[in-house]
């Protein structure tokens, strides 16, 4: 076990200079407070999962990092500067893949959109699209429209479009929540493999405790109404993770028990 830990060194959260930082962030929509004084940071190449019941503002926090929303108090910084709009190397993977892809463009066309937005010259696009689709296993579906693809394939296509941004940070909003269990596990592993090879930093929102533990270096549990940080759990499980052994690891089971009890206490 110890050797496994050694071969997969990953940044340990607050050490060194964090890549993303929430500085005492609060947010209200009208008179309703959504986020109350959230303060945490995400290190380079770290995988952090945000978990909590609905109403805990986890999607709101993700949108703040993505530059889609400005907090009403406090600030979010990325690489040392204040986030005041979407960054070119921060990719956002949406929960509802069927609404995040352009239905009138083929798989290639959807990946191309990210390259067009980044002003990649036309001649360079085709080979890059081909490589990106190959990475997510969609080479044979390049000319298919999203409606002709299964849910899992559509979400893979969204991954490819995110990767087209060559992202330093991947923000994911319950990306696998609508998929069946088998597809979800396959995509979890593919996504982990892709971001580990490129040392991408990930912020992942989910309400599935086991998914958070399986993927994350740290799991941040949030309280709802208004959303605030309840507790932060370090997940010291060896990487690469494995759907069977990782989930049977005593540490996995211990953490699952601990967070589960913790969430249940929060509810009562």
């Amino acid at each position: 076990m110890d050797t496994n830990v050694a071969i997969a060194p990953r940044a340990a959260g607050d050490t060194a200079e964090p890549l993303i930082r929430f500085h005492n962030v609060s947010h209200s929509f009208g008179s309703r407070q959504i986020i109350d004084n959230v303060d945490f940071s995400v290190g380079r190449s770290e995988f952090v999962c945000l978990i909590g019941p609905s109403g805990c503002g986890k999607t709101t926090l993700l949108r703040m990092v993505g530059g889609l929303l400005t907090p009403s108090m406090g600030e979010v910084t990325y690489a040392g500067h204040r986030v005041d709009g979407p960054e070119s190397d921060v990719a956002f993977m949406f929960q509802d893949y069927s609404k995040a892809l352009l239905p009138w463009r083929t798989a290639s066309g959807n990946v191309s959109l990210a390259l067009e937005a980044a002003r990649v010259p036309r001649a360079e696009r085709a080979p890059r699209i081909e490589a990106l689709l190959a990475k997510v296993g969609l080479s044979r579906h390049a000319d298919h429209y999203p409606a002709q693809l299964s849910g899992g394939m559509q979400q893979r296509l969204q991954i490819a479009r995110c990767l087209a941004q060559d992202p330093a940070v991947l923000l994911m909003d319950e990306p696998f929540g609508a998929l069946d269990a088998m597809t979800r596990q396959a995509l979890q592993d593919e996504m982990l493999r892709l971001i580990e090879t490129s040392a991408t930093t990930a912020l992942f929102v989910t309400h599935d405790l086991e998914e958070a533990l399986y993927l994350g270096d740290r799991v941040i549990a949030l309280y709802p109404n208004p959303g605030r940080v309840a507790q932060i759990f370090d997940v010291k499980l060896p990487r690469p993770r494995n759907q069977l052994t990782s989930r049977e690891d005593p540490e996995f089971l211990r953490l699952r028990r601990e967070i589960f009890d913790f969430i249940r206490e929060g509810e009562t």
């Binding site: 993505g66 530059g67 889609l68 709009g85 979407p86 070119s88 921060v90 990719a91 956002f92 949406f94 509802d96 609404k99 995040a100 352009l102 239905p103 009138w104 959109l113 990210a114 067009e116 937005a117 980044a118 298919h144 429209y145 999203p146 409606a147 002709q148 941004q165």
Partner: protein, 255 residues
């Protein structure tokens, strides 16, 4: 359309024509306001070979289609602006509510005074009539675009121009097309109305002169032809709509 369906559809009109023809002949009707189908057919043939029908049709379609293109085109631009800039929509709402209910034909006197007779007047009134439906449909199409698609355009950092051309217009295109197809019927109605009421051009004018010179055969022939033109315009647009947006992958987003 298959043969049996067509045959069933033709039963009623053919029967009606036979009864009409028989009644005219048996009753030996000599009328200034009615004509037998055989006389109408003769008048139609005559108008076709002497060039009246092609010329008049060209005049009417020129008015209708130019007006549709100008009015609809302007409405596309205005609806995109109003759809993407809510402040502009609030600013213009009152003006739109006041102008929209004005019937285009009520502007005929104004058009005669300002533009005089000719294509300009017909085109201007058709454009006015077609502007509103395209504006209303287009505006609702744009404010109802899936918000997540707009988030996607922001996250990818598409510029304003890219957002309109790559996201907003393609997403709203099927609805715009429906708006244009419905407006084509309006365009034909308005252009013929203007021709009947004032403008010495087109099918409407021919229809009016036939009536005033007591030629019921020619009058009915032009009426019949007008029905066929309206049917053909709609059929062409419907065909185009099905080809462009029909069985393609995203047909679900059409209606």
């Amino acid at each position: 359309m298959n043969a049996t369906k067509f045959a069933k559809g033709a039963i009623f009109p053919i029967a009606a024509l036979i009864v009409w023809e028989a009644a005219m002949r048996i009753g030996n009707v000599q009328s200034d306001s009615l004509a037998a189908p055989s006389q109408i057919a003769a008048a139609f043939y005559q108008a076709l070979i002497d060039g009246t029908i092609p010329r008049r049709t060209g005049e009417t379609l020129r008015t209708a289609l130019t007006g549709l293109a100008l009015g609809g085109g302007a409405a596309v631009i205005v609806s995109v602006i109003l759809g993407l800039v809510p402040a502009a929509a609030r600013l213009m709402q009152f003006s739109i509510e006041v102008l929209r209910p004005v019937p285009a034909v009520a502007l005929i006197p104004v058009a005669i005074m300002t533009l005089g007779f000719g294509y300009g007047m017909g085109i201007a009134l058709v454009a006015f009539a077609c502007f509103w439906p395209v504006l209303i449909y287009g505006h609702s199409a744009i404010v109802n675009i899936e918000p997540q698609l707009l988030d996607v355009s922001r996250v990818l950092r598409l510029g304003a121009f890219g957002r309109v051309t790559k996201i907003v217009l393609p997403a709203a295109l099927p609805r715009y097309f429906v708006a244009f197809r419905l407006s084509a019927a309006v365009a034909l109605i308005i252009s013929v109305t203007v021709e009947i009421a004032a403008n010495p051009l087109g099918i409407g004018h021919e229809l009016m002169t036939a009536s005033q010179s007591l030629h019921p055969d020619l009058m009915f022939a032009m009426l019949l032809w007008l029905g066929l033109v309206g049917w053909a315009v709609n059929a062409v647009l419907l065909f185009a709509q099905r080809r462009l947006f029909g069985p393609a992958a995203y047909s679900a987003s059409l209606q």
